[in-house]
């Protein structure tokens, strides 16, 4: 290696006159800045957006929960409108074309006949081709065109405002049973739509209760440790080793018989929430056990903050997003729990209508064979549970700072 040759003569002293910014090396692009300054919730939202299934599920949840604000308007009929001429009528499918001609959405009217051999009700759609069993010749077709944005059954919106506006109504003097009718001739679709209100809020209220309990109990156990922690741990262990459903059953059987259905509804949500806080409490506890050793916690203590302030203001926010995600995953269990309780007849009682109450009528194997459409309330149950699961999973991944 040769030594670098010395420059020929001296270089002139040079000082740049451009303004100097000592932080220029640390300057970030606008995009980087946006990323580094984003709040916790914003980052969660960005991560969640990439999880397509979670976003779709979230949209479904949003639609369903919005629908409970307008149940009466979306449903074609009222909750208790009865059509005694159409008991156990099968679903009427919506058609667009009649004999090759576009007619707009319509349903075929039903012809009712009773099979005297096995006393079975037979409904034949009057489409001009199908032959009813008690006739020799197919009657002319009868079309009932759907009406949209129309006046139909009168209802009291939220029990306050009288209204009769519906999104879709049957033709005048016609019927529209898109999902068939039940044993009293009530439209299943309308009942499912209005049952959504109860079924979805049960999970929400139940989770709120379990969330509050879990945070409080787990928070104190984790923060104080020692014997508080030991007792809480034992209680959790006992509760977790008890099978949920028999316990729910026992507790709801203990609800006084003379309570009003609304009171029973709140009782059931409280029961669902009361037994569910253990998982959350464990998560909170284990997090707090490590977080309370952090310096910022000691600092707060030295400044004289009360334990509940330290837990609520300083410790919990650092993993709140994660807690909310786990709570989301508990809602489907509650929806299923309510369904199971009501199905067994120990949950909600009519006239309060939930998906579980509707399924209570499908308790019998005859239903599966003769009136399978009575099992349709299971559809929203499955959809909601799936949506909550996917959404909760996505939320949990998004809340995890290490992913």
């Amino acid at each position: 290696m040769t030594a670098p040759t010395a420059p020929q003569g001296r270089l002139p002293h040079y000082v740049s006159t451009a303004p100097f910014d000592p932080y220029s090396v640390e300057l970030m692009t606008a995009e980087q800045e946006r990323y580094f300054l984003a709040s916790q919730w914003k980052m969660m939202w960005w991560k969640l957006k990439r999880h397509r299934l979670a976003v779709i599920s979230g949209a479904i949840l949003l639609v369903m929960y919005t629908s409970i604000l307008f149940s009466e308007m979306i449903a074609p009929y009222n909750l208790h409108s009865r059509f005694t001429d159409f008991v156990y009528a099968p679903p009427q499918p919506v058609h667009l074309f009649h004999e090759g001609k576009f007619e707009g959405p319509f349903v075929y009217a039903f012809h009712y006949s009773l099979d005297m051999d096995n006393l079975q009700r037979i409904y034949t759609p009057l489409d001009g081709e199908t032959l009813p069993p008690d006739m020799t010749q197919a009657p002319p077709a009868e079309l009932h065109k759907l009406r949209f944005f129309c006046r139909g059954d009168a209802y009291e919106y939220l029990g306050l405002i009288d209204g009769s506006f519906h999104l879709v109504c049957p033709a005048r003097d016609g019927t529209l049973f898109l999902m068939g009718t039940d044993r009293l001739g009530r439209d299943m679709l309308s009942r499912i739509i209005q049952g959504t209100r109860i079924s979805l809020t049960v999970g929400l209220i139940g989770v709120t209760i379990s969330f509050l309990l879990g945070i409080t109990i787990g928070g104190f156990a984790g923060y104080y440790g020692g014997w508080v922690d030991i007792i809480v741990q034992r209680v959790i262990e006992v509760l977790r080793s008890l099978p949920e459903l028999p316990l729910w059953l026992a507790l709801s059987a203990a609800l006084p018989v003379n309570w009003s259905p609304t009171l029973i509804y709140f009782g059931i949500t409280v029961i669902l929430g009361l037994l569910d806080w253990t998982g959350l409490a464990r998560a909170v506890r284990s997090k707090l056990l490590s977080l309370r050793e952090e310096d910022f916690c000691t600092a707060a203590q030295l400044m004289g903050a009360s334990p509940s302030r330290i837990i609520g203001r300083h410790l919990l926010p650092s993993f709140m997003s994660h807690l909310i995600a786990s709570a989301t995953l508990r809602i489907p269990a509650m929806i299923l729990g309510e369904t199971a309780l009501s199905f067994l007849g120990l949950g909600l009682r009519p006239p309060i209508t939930s998906w579980g109450v509707l399924l209570n009528e499908a308790q019998n194997i005859n239903v599966v064979v003769l009136y399978p459409w009575l099992m349709l309330p299971v559809l929203p149950v499955v959809i909601m549970v799936l949506a909550f699961n996917f959404f909760g999973d996505g939320l949990r991944d998004a809340a995890d700072p290490y992913k």
Binding site: S241, L251, A340, M375
Partner: protein, 332 residues
Amino acid sequence: MLSYLVHRILIMIPTLLAISALTFMIIQLPPGDYLETYIAELESQGENVDPAKIQYLREQYGLDEPMIVQYAYWLGGLLHGDMGYSFEYSQPVSKIVGDRLLLTFVVTLATVLFTYIVAFPIGVYSATHQYSWSDYGLTFFGFLGLATPNFLLALVLLYLFNRYFGISIGGLMEPEFVDTPWSMGKLMSVIQHLVVPTVVIGTAGTAGMIRRLRANLLDELQKQYVVTGRAKGLPPLKLLLKYPLRMSLNPFISDIGDLLPELVSGSVIVSVVMSLPTTGPMLLAALRSQDMYLAGSFLMFLAMLTVIGMFISDLALAVLDPRIRLHGGATK
């Protein structure tokens, strides 16, 4: 190992005690007691109620004593196998429930086996084939099993099995075998009838198990020792079976603690729908009529089933994993 065993058994005792206290409290919750229901029933049928007789019954069953004394009686009886007296059936509880407890145990055991046998290969497959179509398909199927209410699945399967395999609806055996001594035919019939409840009760647990096994195995597969093994030229199957799979089995066994309560819950509702002669339907009836000793024994039995199941799973874990045994089970 022995000290761990003792330690674990000692923990179980207070847990069971707490459970029994809780159970007793729940039984006592409904306002009134069985006698009041009984009186109301008699009156509604227009029969006269003799107050002296009621008073006699009340004293006989200790219903007038303070609750703590009633609890002590009940617990003392439990300890030597006397589960109290069923007002509804006018018989000692132990006489009514014997067969049902055994059958519940059989159904639960069958379901646990089913869950493991189904979840294990599927979990391993979907972890080793992550993000493939079959992985998505299986995961979705598992979710569907999680989301469908048990009882409806039971109804539909019951119908399909009756339609296509001619298996009678409800019950645990063909009607002609009821009240006959055990024979080969009866056993086969029971096994055939066990299929639907096992599958139905098992679906939710299986789905959860698949997800957890998949997640655990995926975590292990990313670790360096797997890369090392692969670099050294270990055949893929041997590499999978010998290291990561064994590591991920750990939670698979400890999960039984979550699995058992789930299965027991599921079995209650499914056996109501399918009218299986297990604890479910009778528990429901007892709760409805506030037949407290009967309901209490069932609750206690179901809880014990899960506690003992957890105990066994803890033991199995300790045998499998020296780290747990050496820590004495104190840390989790």
